[in-house]
Structure formats: C-alpha cells, structure tokens
C-alpha cells in the first residue's frame, strides 16, 4: 500500500467521523463547556470579591484550565471519538465491504488511528484556544504564561488526548462494541485510575496507571506536591515507557482483532 492510498483511507475514515454529528457535538461540548463554565464562574467570583478570589485568567487560571482540558474533559472527548473510530465500521456493518476490497485488514485498522487523532486534536485544539483566550482575557493584571509554556501546554494537551484516543481506537476495535468500549474506558479513566493511584499499598505497580504516566509530562504542576499532579512517583523515562506500552498494547490488540474477526 502506498502513501496515496494510506492518505485516502485516512481521509475516508476522517470523513466518517467528521460527519457523525452526535459524536462531534458531544466531543466539542466536553472540550469547551467545562472551560466556559470555569472561566465564567471564576470571573464572577473575582469581580464580586477581588481580594478573596484570584483572577479567572493569568497563570493560575491557565493551570486550572489546562488540568480541566488535558486531564479530565479532553480525554473524555478523545475516548468518545476514538471508540467511534474503532467500532464504527463494525457497528454499521460496512467492515465486510471494506474487507471485500481486498485491502489488508491491518491497513483498514491502521487508517482509523490518524483519522481519529485528527478529529480529536481538532476538537482539543479548539478547547485549548478557548483556554488561552480565557487566560489572557481574564488575567486582570496577574502574570500570564509565556510562549514556551503555551506551546508546551498545547503539546501536553495533544499528548494526553492523543494517547487516550489511540487506546480508545484499539480497545473499541478489540471489543467491536462502542457502548462497551466507551463505558469501560470512561470507567477506567474517571473511576478506576484515581482509585488505583491512591491505593498506596500497591506501591510502584501503580506506575502502570496511564493517567499517572501522562501527568508526568505536564509543563505545569497540575496538583499538590512536586509530581506535576501525579500521585505516583516515577521518572520521565519510566512514564514514557508506560505510555509507549499502553499505545503498543492497544494498537496491537486492535490490529489483531481486526485481522482475525469474521467480517
């Protein structure tokens, strides 16, 4: 398969996702609405009592907005898009028609990943733009992030959501059921991961929790303490290995299932 065909297949997968209006709207709602609410509420608090409440924007506001986008709601939007990208063909019944083209099943799976990432990053990019606008619009004279931090923040948002999106594509391709994949991944991300990270008796085995590894790449401290918001201590090298292991595992599982399943 040459680059032209790979590009066309990715474009076709992107078209499927982009036109899935429900998924796109909910992903945008998840990426934008919490930030809007955050800035509006904080701005109202600050204007009512500037001595008690910090400005909604500025460096503090940026850090909180980045936490919302990169660690909570952005990943949820990524899971939404990733599961649609991974299970969409099977759910619609079109997978068998794609197989009948003679194109390799692994190629069919592989095209889903950049397509889902493309839409995910588009949505997260819009969310990040809103965070930056809010940071400066509501700074009220407080310090603001410099260009390097903004670039690192964008990179972190894309990394965080990109990893979750790819895992979601792989997992949804593995289960071939979007509802099952969506429920499992949101449950894992919002419920299981924080609980596991806080069970100190699990010790260093908690390093395999994905959100803990992701937090180590944050350009700002996203939580209390010196671990950039992560509960579990690990080096950046270890965090990188954990990320790559998650990506590789779910990519391989998704590709394996797509190759083996009856269409």
């Amino acid at each position: 398969m040459n680059a032209t065909i790979a590009g066309q297949m990715t474009g076709a997968d992107f078209l499927k996702l982009r036109k899935k209006r429900g998924t796109l709207i909910w992903a945008l709602v998840l990426a934008l609405m919490p930030l809007l609410i955050f800035f509006i509420v904080r701005a109202a608090q600050h204007s009512s009592n500037p001595l008690k409440y910090e400005p909604a924007g500025g460096l503090h506001g940026y850090t909180d907005a980045l936490r919302l986008l990169a660690m909570f709601f952005g990943p949820l939007a990524a899971i939404l898009i990733g599961t649609e990208g991974g299970a969409g063909d099977a759910a619609s019944g079109v997978f068998r028609d794609l197989v009948v083209t003679g194109r390799s099943r692994v190629a069919l799976f592989t095209a889903r990943v950049p397509a889902a990432l493309g839409l995910c990053w588009l949505v997260v990019g819009v969310g990040y733009a809103l965070a930056v606008i809010g940071t400066y619009a509501f700074a009220s004279g407080s310090p603001t992030p410099d260009g390097a931090l903004l670039a690192n923040g964008l990179g972190f948002s894309l990394l965080s959501t990109g990893v979750l999106c790819t895992v979601a594509v792989g997992f949804a391709s593995l289960t071939t059921s979007r509802p099952a994949a969506l429920t499992a991944l949101i449950g894992w991300h919002l419920v299981a991961s924080p609980i596991l990270a806080n069970i100190s008796s699990l010790g260093s085995s908690r390093r395999i929790v994905l959100s803990q590894a992701i937090a180590h790449f944050s350009p700002v401290n996203l939580g209390d303490g010196g671990r950039r918001g992560a509960t579990v201590a690990m080096s950046q090298g270890t965090a990188l290995i954990v990320l790559v292991a998650w990506l590789a595992a779910f990519f391989a599982l998704g590709a394996w299932r797509t190759r083996r399943m009856d269409a």
């Binding site: 076709a12 078209l15 619609s92 079109v94 068998r96 028609d97």
Partner: protein, 315 residues
C-alpha cells in the same frame, strides 16, 4: 474459471456448514447458487471473499488462490453479502468514496458513472438513512461496480425489491453478462430468480452441492424431452404416433397428448409433419418445460432419505 473450489469445508465447532464443496463457475456466465435457507450459501460466499476462514479445502477466484493472493483476487471482484450495509449518516456518494479510498485512487473517478448506472445520480447526495430498501440495493450494486469487476458475487440480491425492481435487476445482471462479459455468481433461495437470470447453477443443501450444470440440464433432469400435442382426432393421432420412431412414449392427458420424444425437442417438427400427413389436425404443439423447481424439490427432498439414497442423488 471465475471461481473454483476443491473440497471446501467450513466447520463451526461440531457443525459442518459447508461440506467438501467442489464448484466450478465458468467466466462470462451468470451462475446461480441455489438452496433453501440455511443451506450454507452465505457461508460459502463469506469464505470466497475472505470474510471468514475455511476449515479445509482450497479455492481460487479469477485464477488467484485465496487466501494466499486474496488482495489480487479481490481487486476485480464486487460483492453484496446479505443485505447491503452503509454508513447511514453519510450520503450515497460519500459511502462510495469510503470504498473507493480502500480500492485505490483511480477508482474514485468511477463513482459518478457507477451511481448513474444504477439510477441514483440525482439522489447521490442524500443521506443513506433516507434511502428505501430498493435504493440501498442499487447503491450496493453501484459499490460493486466501482472496481469494474470481472466477477460479481451477489448474495440474495433481490431481497426486499418490488416486482419492478426485480425485473430491472434481472435486466441489469443479464446486460452485465451478455454485453460486458462479466461473471455473476448469484446465491438465492428463489428458484424462479435463478432460472430467469442464470445460465448455470449449483443446487446446494445442508452444506453440500447436490448437483450443478446448465439450467436447462438441471431442469430437464434426465434430459427427457416431451411435447404436449393438441389434435382434433385423438385416436388417429395415437395410431399415427405409434408408428413414428422418434416417439418413445405417448399417453393422453387433460392438456392433450403427452409425447415423450426419443431425440431432442428439435424433432417436434418431424412429428408434426407426420401427423399432418396422416390427416390429423394439430391445434397445439408445445414443448414441456421441466422447471428447475421440480428438479430442486426432487433433489433436496431426497436429502431426507437415508444415507445410501443420498449418495445416489449426488452421483
């Protein structure tokens, strides 16, 4: 051969869905794969297309062994498996773009002509969820045509079509075979459909191919040629026919005299001439058409018989 299988077998656990099928589908013909529901038709098609793995045996599509050269084999194959499925949130044209992207850059240029060919050009930009079943079937055919297929594999293609749609579909298939030289492999449980569309067929039941051959041969069973002859003087006609070597047997029926010919049906004119010379007024001369339905019921009902008798049928 467009399709060639040898001892093709598919097992689901203990159950054998396809049992050692040998099939030969010649190029440039419409071939029916005829069998009752649950006979294994769709499973056979799914194996041919690589949608599911065969448990044993070998197969070739357009001369390419499958699955070894599956990619090459399917380049010039179009297929509808069960009912055509689409992304309902996309338009007809966009659905074809999805498939064209997987087939290759040159295929995309054929989307417009494929849509026009099936009469969907004007509604190609509507979302598929607004399409009727008939329109979906036509869009399925357009999707098949994208690859300019040498071989079309169609699984129960007229399901859900109204009589007008079925007639239109038959004409389209015949045109593809006769005018464009394509091969069509059509699975169906509808005898009438296979008889009207196909040149040859295989009758399948419970995963086994019971018999295969040209439609006329299959329908004719033992290749017995019969005539129904209407006459004004039955006694004179009977005595005349008794003296004709070309007549093997004759008896009265409600429709007239039923005559079994020793030769082919082309000898009917000689029989007619003999009757006229003898002074018999011939009011009707009609070859008896043995329907595929008769043959189908004959061979499939024999499957309920004990094993020994089944083997006789297969032989």
């Amino acid at each position: 051969m467009a399709i060639e299988t040898r001892a093709l077998t598919k097992r689901f656990g203990e159950r054998t869905a396809i049992d050692g099928v040998d099939l030969r589908v010649p190029c440039g013909s419409a071939f029916g794969f005829l069998g009752p529901n649950g006979a294994g038709k769709t499973t056979m098609i799914r194996m041919l297309l690589g949608l599911t793995h065969a448990s044993a045996g070998s197969m070739k599509l357009l001369g390419h062994p499958v699955p070894a050269e599956r990619g090459q084999a399917l380049q010039r194959v179009g297929a509808i498996v069960e009912e055509p499925r689409f992304h309902d949130h996309l338009s007809g044209r966009e659905n074809l773009r999805i498939i064209a992207a997987a087939r290759g850059p040159e295929v995309r240029e054929g989307i417009g002509s494929a849509l026009a060919r099936v009469g969907l050009a004007e509604r190609a930009d509507e979302k598929v969820k607004k399409y009727s079943l008939g329109m979906r079937q036509r869009l399925g055919v357009a999707r098949c045509l994208l690859s300019d297929p040498l071989l079309l594999i169609l699984d129960e293609p007229t399901n859900g079509l109204d009589p007008g749609g079925i007639q239109e579909f038959r004409l389209t298939i015949r045109a593809m075979v006769e005018e464009e030289g394509r091969t069509v492999f059509l699975s169906s449980h509808l005898l009438d459909e296979v008889e009207k569309i196909c040149d040859a067929a295989a009758i399948v039941d419970r995963g086994k191919v019971i018999t295969q051959g040209a439609i006329a041969e299959l329908a004719g069973g033992g290749a017995r040629h019969e005539l129904i002859i209407g006459v004004d003087d039955a006694e004179l006609a009977l005595s005349t026919l008794d003296g004709i070597d070309l007549v093997r047997d004759v008896h009265r029926s409600d429709e007239g005299l039923r005559v079994v010919l020793a030769g082919g049906v082309e000898t009917a004119s000689q029989v007619n001439a003999s009757l006229v010379r003898a002074g018999v007024g011939v009011t009707r001369l009609e070859p008896v058409r043995h329907s595929l339905e008769q043959r189908f019921l004959e061979v499939t009902s024999r499957l309920d018989a004990p094993l020994g008798e089944k083997e006789e049928v297969r032989a």
